[in-house]
Point group: C2
Chain length 83, copies 2
C-alpha cells in the first residue's frame, strides 16, 4: 500500500528562530502589524508500507533518525492512504 506522510517539523518553544525573526522584521518594515513569525518545515513523503500502523511507525523513526533534531525540534505526523 502507498501512503502519504505529512511531517511538520518546528522549533521547540524557547529556541531561537532567526529566519522567523527576519521575516517578522521585514513584514513590519512593509507596514504589517505583525507580532511574531516562526518558521517550520513540512516534508511530504510517499512511502510503501504494509499497513497504516507500519507507515506511522516508519514516519516516527524517520523523524528520530533524520528529519528532526530531538534537541531542538518538535514534530507532528499525519498519515494518509493513497488510492
Amino acid at each position: 500500500m502507498k501512503y502519504r506522510l505529512k511531517i511538520h517539523v518546528s522549533l521547540k518553544l524557547g529556541h531561537s528562530d532567526p529566519e522567523g525573526e527576519t521575516a517578522a522584521r521585514l513584514l513590519k518594515e512593509l507596514g504589517y502589524k505583525v507580532e511574531s513569525v516562526s518558521v517550520g518545515k513540512v516534508y511530504t513523503v510517499f512511502l510503501e508500507a504494509a499497513s497504516r500502523r507500519e507507515a506511522e511507525q516508519k514516519a516516527e523513526e524517520m523523524c528520530r533518525r533524520l528529519l528532526a533534531n530531538p534537541t531542538k525540534d518538535d514534530y507532528m505526523i499525519a498519515v494518509e492512504e493513497m488510492k
Copy 2:
C-alpha cells in the same frame, strides 16, 4: 483582534527540489521504501487585524510581497482567530 496565520509555501509541480531529493536519497539509504520527498515551509504569523477578512487579505499580500516566489512557489493560507 489577533489572528494566527498558517502560511504553507511549497514548490510548484515540476520545479526541482534538491532538499527533498536529498532527503529521499538518505531515507532510501537508511532502508525505507520511499518513493519521493518534497519539502515546504510553514510560516506561523501572529497578526493584528480588524477582521478575519482583513487578516486573509494581508496574508495574501504578504505571500505575494515577501514569503512566496510567484515564479516557483504555491501557497496555502489558513486564518484562525485567537482568543
